[in-house]
């Protein structure tokens, strides 16, 4: 029987980690992900986990320690937010290029500066090209479900890449929700034992992890990394199917909400999909054919799924909870536009930046976005390159 509980996103992810009981957790506290290492160290102290917890002095070292332990064949995890993730930056690339499937709980928080502890996606989006998979949750249930699946996906023999399991700081990490947990024996059976193909101190194979790579081979190694990222699409879908068979909860690269006959759509990531769905329902009640696409997996990028979902749409608003400061839009905006270019005809695509540093996004804001794209479609006007939503002028 599944376990009904009331937990915050941080509690849910910590509970998943407890159930998985990885070999190593190395972490350094930072708001709003601090609770995760805190819960883990308490579980360990109480004898509920046998994980080795390393209270390192910084995030650079937490990622380094995870790289070391994962290379030694130990299933390794960490958690961080904001500047903590930024401080790991060079190590993120090492984890990915050494093909070490570390699972990291990212509790999304705005990057400094100005310093701000609230939610947006600037931290993980800043690391979007580091070679990690990125899977985002809308609520605590998804944070829990995603985390368990992330372990499997990263460790999949055709993938072998590290994974960020992202949830929105405070909104998801701290708000308590009702959710359904899976029995521990089932979680353990689902993730299975970690059996790496290559690891240090394997008597049958001498191995150096992360050695110097020459121009003769470097590009091939990068190509192998990108092939693994492509393979991840299939692994994500397969593992989601297995997960559905176990729990009845369905996951994919993205979630389409009332998209079947939608003429207008928003594309959004994370907790704000909740407000977005409410806006869609209200508009549907008023006779507007509105729909929503929630990008669950940002790395690998769901390009084919987006093209399929947008085929019949007249106008789409792509919502970015970070600015990439390209002066031409946010990262999701740029990538969606690139994905649909030449593949979806006659669509009006607008890009919005919203919710930076914890700025509230409400149902009426999303409805306003729908109104604006409907107006653009009607008048045939080209959208502004991109727009800030709910901004004080």
């Amino acid at each position: 029987m599944a376990i009904n509980e009331r937990l915050s996103g941080n509690e849910a992810v910590s509970f998943a980690i407890k159930q998985i009981n990885p070999d190593v957790v190395a972490a350094y506290p930072i708001t709003p992900s601090t609770e995760i290492p805190q819960f883990i160290s308490q579980y360990i102290a109480n004898g509920e986990m046998t994980t080795v917890y390393v209270p390192v002095e910084s995030e650079h070292s937490s990622m380094s320690a995870c790289i070391g332990s994962e290379a030694a064949g130990a299933r390794s995890m960490t958690a961080t937010s904001s500047c903590g993730l930024a401080y790991m930056f060079e190590m993120l690339y090492i984890a990915a290029s050494n093909r070490l499937p570390i699972t990291m709980a990212v509790v999304n928080r705005a990057l400094s500066g100005p310093i701000n502890i609230n939610n947006d996606h600037s931290d993980s989006m800043g690391a979007r090209d580091a070679g990690w998979l990125q899977i985002y949750a809308e609520n605590a249930q998804e944070a829990y479900d995603n985390f368990i699946q992330c372990v499997r996906i990263g460790e999949h023999k055709d993938v072998k890449l590290p994974v960020m399991a992202c949830q929105d700081g405070f909104i998801t990490s701290h708000a308590v929700e009702r959710l359904e947990l899976i029995e521990t024996d089932k979680v353990k059976a689902f993730v299975g034992e970690y059996k790496p193909e290559k690891y240090l101190l394997n008597p049958d194979e001498i191995l150096a992890v992360g050695p110097y790579d020459t121009p003769q081979y470097y590009m091939e190694h990068k190509k192998a990394q990108t092939e693994a990222m492509k393979n991840a699409r299939k692994a994500i879908k397969e593992i989601a199917k297995e997960f559905e068979a176990m729990t009845g909860r369905k996951y994919d690269m993205l979630e389409e909400y009332r998209m079947d006959d939608a003429e207008y759509a928003v594309i959004i990531i994370g907790s704000s999909a909740g407000a977005g769905k409410e806006a869609v329902d209200e508009l549907r009640n008023a006779g507007v054919k509105a729909g929503l696409i929630k990008v669950r997996v940002f790395r690998p990028f769901p390009d084919e799924e987006l093209v399929a979902a947008l085929k019949k749409v007249k106008g789409v608003a792509i919502m970015d909870k970070t600015d990439s400061f390209s002066a031409a839009g946010g990262p999701l905006g740029a990538e969606v536009k690139a994905a649909i270019y030449g593949k979806v005809d006659g669509i009006t695509a607008a890009n919005y930046i919203y919710g930076l540093g914890g700025r509230d996004v409400r149902v009426e804001h999303i409805k306003q976005v729908f109104e604006e794209i409907a107006e653009l479609v009607k008048t045939g006007k080209a959208p502004e390159t991109y727009k800030y939503l709910a901004i004080r002028e």
Binding site: P29, T34, Q38, A45, P55, E57, C83, G113, I115
Partner: protein, 250 residues
């Protein structure tokens, strides 16, 4: 009527965010008094850390720069090197200095930077909710060491004032505390000395303050004051570990 006490001029009207009984508030006040007395307000820059003192820039009518976690000494280096005649004060907690920023403080000392560093050692990460720091005492209960810090998993406390005293680039290193009125007076003296040394070209001046954190320690303010005596001082003895008189100018 003779004024025997007034609020330091440099203070703004902003209420501090410190808990009752916190050592940060006491030290912040001493800094304010010294800025007034030494007339540093218009010729100095305060470098604040990330930690419970993250809002301190709002308490002083004075220019400030807010460093990222651990980086204050590196940031201060840039300021002091470009403005060698100005007063530059670095303020750091134990998480900020001894965890995240150990490299920065050590290399500021290696380079013998001419600024003052105030180190608030409360043996815990106060701001993030009372987790174990490298300075946490053996056996001390924190939110990441619920049964007390154990050597096997977490090693030993770090005695920064002694370490800094061993660095040739440090001209003054003293450990003080603020749990009695007499010791508060002694702390002010130590801070004053550290501030004055900035202009003698002798290198870094360092004051470690053992600072009660009633919230993080799970104690009433008065019991936190006692804990400084009973538990911190035996591990972190008070006193000067290096006197500037021993150190020639660079």
């Amino acid at each position: 009527m003779k004024t025997i006490y007034k609020r330091p001029e440099v203070f703004t009207d902003v209420n501090t965010s410190y808990c009752g009984g916190c050592g940060h508030g006491i030290v912040n006040k001493l800094i304010a008094e010294l800025i007034d007395e030494m007339e540093l307000r218009e010729k100095g820059i305060l470098v604040w850390p990330i930690g419970c003192s993250v809002y301190a820039d709002k308490y002083y009518k004075m220019d400030a720069i807010c460093a990222l976690h651990g980086r204050a000494p590196a940031l201060a280096t840039g300021i002091k090197r470009s403005l060698p005649d100005k007063f530059v004060m670095v303020y750091q907690g134990d998480g900020d200095m001894v965890s995240e920023g150990m490299a920065e403080i050590m290399h500021a000392a290696v380079r013998a930077e001419n600024f003052s560093v105030i180190f608030i050692n409360n043996a815990i990460y106060g701001m993030t909710g009372g987790q174990m720091a490298p300075t946490t005492l053996l056996g001390q209960v924190t939110s990441t060491s619920p049964y007390g810090r154990a050597v096997a998993s977490s090693g030993y406390p770090v005695n920064m004032a002694e370490i800094m005293a061993n660095m040739p680039g440090v001209c003054y290193s003293e450990r003080v505390t603020v749990n009695t009125p007499q010791r508060i007076t002694a702390t002010k003296k130590a801070l004053k000395k550290a501030f004055e040394l900035q202009f003698e070209n002798k290198g870094l001046s360092f004051v470690e303050v053992l600072s009660p954190c009633p919230t993080g320690w799970g104690k009433k303010p008065i019991d936190a004051m006692k804990m400084v005596d009973e538990q911190l001082i035996p591990i972190y003895p008070l006193g000067a570990f290096k006197s500037p008189e021993e150190v020639p100018a660079k």
